[in-house]
């Protein structure tokens, strides 16, 4: 049983990798453009304060270096948005390719297929994030040492376990709702507005409150604290605990929701509809 499932995951990985390698320009685009999307904020900062450091910003975040704040937000959010599109929309893509019915009718558990898709998306996102981080390290001359890197990897993994759980549940919704591109775009803007990707959410009590329900907020605060404020892993134990609890809740909820939505779609007989 385990061997069969691992086989399915492996072939899902091979299939998606082949598709990606067929469109190298898309890979290049998603490696370079997240950094270009940050540029307007950097120029905006320069126009509003005249330098790359801000005292009011330091009062809010502990560091006045808004340039590093923005770039770190951009890199970490690459994982989140690739998960949202790559995993959340993955079953919808199978509909476009005309292969969803075959997958659903095969004796494989759809959750195993989604695990395969999630792992592939993780590898893909990690390669793009690695290249982005390398560019930033070279441009800014940031020194990333092993004692800093290991806690960052731990926090990213904790963030992704919960987030991929959410994306799997969302993939279940695509079975039922079909066209969800609009919803994904709205979720994107919700993340941009209510998590500290591009600005410190502490600036407004409403954004601060809502951000406290989004795991990305905790991950970004912790990663920035390690890199920009030289905090060690022990001082961030509370954040790690919160992320761990969110992971357990989201994974359990994702498995339940996906199974429920898949069953519901089968009952309605709308698997094959667009």
């Amino acid at each position: 049983m385990l061997k069969r499932n691992l086989n399915v995951i492996y072939y899902e990985f091979v299939k998606l990798t082949k598709i990606w390698l067929s469109y190298p320009i898309i890979f290049l685009f998603f490696t370079i453009f997240p950094l270009i999307w940050v540029l307007p904020f950097i120029f905006q900062g320069k126009a509003l304060v005249g330098s790359f450091s801000s005292i009011p910003f330091k009062e809010l975040t502990g560091s006045g270096n808004y340039l590093a704040f923005l770039l770190l937000g951009s890199i970490v959010s690459t994982y989140v948005f690739s998960g949202l599109w790559g995993v959340g929309n993955s079953l919808r893509e199978e509909t476009y390719w005309g292969t969803l019915e075959y997958l659903i009718l095969s004796p494989t558990n759809p959750l195993v297929l989604l695990i395969g898709k999630t792992l592939t998306e993780f590898v893909y996102a990690t390669i793009t994030v690695f290249i982005q981080a390398l560019v930033i390290v070279l441009i800014l001359g940031v020194k990333v040492t092993l004692p800093k890197l290991l806690p960052i990897i731990l926090i990213i993994l904790l963030l992704l376990i919960g987030f991929y759980g959410f994306a799997i549940a969302f993939a279940g919704f695509t079975l039922l709702l079909k066209e969800v591109e609009g919803w994904i775009r709205t979720l994107e803007w919700i993340f941009y507005l209510f998590s500290p990707i591009r600005y410190p959410v502490e600036i407004n009590p409403i954004t601060k409150f809502i951000a406290s329900f989004i795991p990305l907020t905790y991950a970004l605060i912790a990663i920035r604290a390690i890199i920009l404020l030289n905090k060690n892993i022990y001082s961030l134990s509370q954040i790690i605990l919160i992320l761990g609890i969110i992971d357990i809740v989201l994974i359990a909820l994702a498995i339940f929701l996906f199974r429920f939505l898949e069953k519901k779609t089968r009952e309605l007989g709308t698997i094959g509809t667009y």
Partner: protein, 278 residues
């Protein structure tokens, strides 16, 4: 000639009505087109307030003569809608017909193809204007803005010229999608670059010289700086007469270039027989 123009206008209007009907059939998505731009704008404003520590920026005042970051960013930001009109609505007009399965029928009618693209452009211009008004009202309710009302009329003239120029730009993208098929990447890349080089949330003065020079080829650059000058008294680095002249020239250049590119690609796809392929 008059009869022909009348026929084209009728086709443009029919395309516009068709798009409204399709759009209004998906009510949630239609509503989202009004809400999403505001949600997208807020991080720009909140980020600005976070680094300045309030609404008034001394540095911005030094660069432009006005320091209210909320009004400055809002007036620049609303032009993104018009850029999207050229990049997405016009650029993808024919690709959309392909998705609907009606491209071949549309291409067989005795009306030039660019007429359909203009129909989509008309729909998008009207839709963007509604979104723009909605954004101004909502942001005004949240932040309380003050504009120079006497600047509305000259702003509208500049915006009209800018839209005409963007139509040419959109025509070029529409042509490219005919041959590239997956043209979303071109639109997405151009959109990312235009977001950087147009003075949406900052004055041109902060851009490196090569980016500043590139921005002079984008019609929305002039639309933004002139509108902010008329409505917010932003100091101009270029004389107003030059702005009008350049916009006028850009309109002629982009429309001619857009139509030529569109015509050539249309001819090529017909010759190679790849019009119907995905």
């Amino acid at each position: 000639m008059i009869k022909k123009t009348k026929k084209y206008l009728k086709a443009i209007w029919a395309e516009n009505i068709k798009e409204w009907k399709i759009e209004l059939s998906y009510k949630t998505d239609f509503l989202r087109t009004f809400i999403d731009p505001i949600v997208y704008l807020l991080p720009y404003l909140l980020y600005g307030i976070a680094i300045v520590g309030g609404r008034e920026s001394q540095e911005l005042k030094r660069l432009t003569g006005m320091g209210d970051i909320v009004s400055f960013i809002l007036l620049g930001y609303i032009f993104i809608g018009f850029m999207n009109m050229a990049l997405w609505a016009m650029g993808f007009s024919l690709r959309k017909e392909q998705y609907y399965g009606t491209l071949e029928q549309v291409f067989s009618t005795p009306v030039p193809r660019w007429v359909f693209t203009l129909g989509m452009a008309l729909h998008s211009t009207l839709h963007q204007t509604l979104i723009l008004l909605f954004q101004i009202i909502i942001i005004n309710l949240i932040f309380t803005l003050s504009f120079n009302l006497s600047g509305i009329l000259p702003s509208l003239i500049v915006v009209a010229l800018m839209i005409l120029s963007l139509y040419g730009f959109g025509m070029m993208i529409a042509g490219l999608t005919l041959t590239l098929k997956q043209g979303w990447l071109v639109s997405e890349a151009l959109s990312g670059i235009m977001m950087v080089i147009t003075p949406i949330a900052y004055p041109l003065a902060v851009l490196p010289i090569f980016l500043r020079k590139a921005s002079y080829f984008i019609p929305s650059t002039y639309g933004i700086i002139a509108t902010r000058h008329f409505l917010l008294n932003e100091r101009l680095e270029i004389p107003l007469s030059t702005i009008y002249l350049r916009l006028f020239l850009l309109t002629i250049i982009w429309i001619s270039f857009g139509l030529i590119v569109f015509y050539l690609i249309d001819k090529k796809t017909r010759k190679t027989g790849t019009l119907h392929t995905y």
